[in-house]
Amino acid sequence: MALSVREYRARIRSTESMKKITRAMELIAASRIIKAQQRAQAAAPYARELTRAVSAVATFSNVDHALTLEPEDPKKAAVLIVTSDRGLAGAYSSSVIKEAERLVEKLKGEGKDVDLYTSGRKGEAYFKFRQRAVVQSWTGFSDQPTYDVAAEIGATLIEAFLAETGEEEGAVDEVHVVYTRFRSMLSQEPTAVRLLPLEVVEGTEPPEQGDLLPLYEFEPSPSEVLDSLLPRYVQSRIFFALLQAAASELAARQKAMKSATDNADELIKKYKRIANQARQAGITQEISEIVGGVNALADAQAGSE
């Protein structure tokens, strides 16, 4: 580490400017995360009411629907992986991809083929680099997803699910989603859930044996209501996953950038110490050179007298 003082100064300067960048990114992520959380909260009433309606239909009518039917012999599964568009968010994307790989392994172990769908550029790049086929990927919205995107993804997945297996291209028997659940600012957790076939949680106090069912009127008919209700339910679940992922991404980015800023601080401190040492060594050397010079001069003069 025998660099000159000037070189250490240059390193300190570049680390300082990097620190400024990471600090700015940290602050930006921190301010966006609040907005992302608000968006997630704003979307909650819709999801809640929709769930209530779905469980009302499930509880008060005996209609089966294609989206809730368990295929007898599932052979093919689709996995939607929700990643980020941009990096610099620590292990955010890689941990969700790792979780997805685990799920894919598990599904393969059960004898199912897996079709991959990704959202976010990182996921797309990961599979492209490994030359693994991705059926479809959506990019460009990871930190503020809109409902339209969720609706589009939902429509694609539902179409794949409803297609006849073995006859049509891209047909699947189940659909899974892997996304990062936002628990708190400090902890985000990659989660895998099965989206289709739907498991409807029967919520509003199920009728007891022998009780008369409250007369729910369905217009135009229970099956038609369910027909338009369930796809929306799926889309809202996807929207929820995207919003959670967006909040998690920002939280992960904030955390990563905070530790980058801290590291830059450490590095600057270290370089300053080394630079000071080098400076002091230089001074010491100069002094001993001067003293040496003076002594030599004195010796020479003493010799000539």
């Binding site: 979307a43 809109t146 369905f218």
Partner: protein, 134 residues
């Protein structure tokens, strides 16, 4: 049960990304696939699909709120009315000029497929909602 809960409806008008309006009302009118339906307090439990149209809410204070909604659902149970639509706007949030221009564009495009029809109905609903409010 208190009488007050019997006489008013607890209404929630919800879009996919936000709660558009919530409050108490004495009457709600919405357009279902079968036609307009009016909901009064103590209505029987109902779950119905609604289409692009105008939702009319008479509040307990006698005010009228009007909203333009997309296709979605209306659910009524225990004097709770929820109207769910992917998009919904209160009449005062709609820019009438813009909505008219949009409607004009849809009509001129003259396409006849489902998506275009849906767009046209949505534009019409927005104009109607904005006009009725002004």
């Amino acid at each position: 049960m208190a009488e007050s809960t019997d006489k008013v409806l607890q209404v929630e008008l919800v879009a996919a990304d936000r709660l558009v309006w919530s409050g108490q009302a004495t009457m709600v009118i919405a357009r279902t696939t079968e036609g307009d339906v009016g909901i009064l307090p103590n209505h029987a439990p109902l779950l119905s699909s609604i289409i692009e149209g105008v939702v009319d809410v008479q509040t307990a204070e006698g005010e009228t709120w009007i909203a333009a909604v997309d296709a979605g659902f209306l659910s009524v149970a225990d004097n709770r009315v929820s109207i769910l639509a992917e998009r919904a706007e209160m009449s005062h949030e709609i820019d009438l000029e813009n909505a008219r221009a949009e409607l004009e564009r849809c009509r001129e495009a003259g396409e006849n497929d489902d998506a275009a029809q849906e767009k046209l109905r949505r534009a019409e609903a927005r104009v109607r909602a904005a006009e009725r409010a002004s």
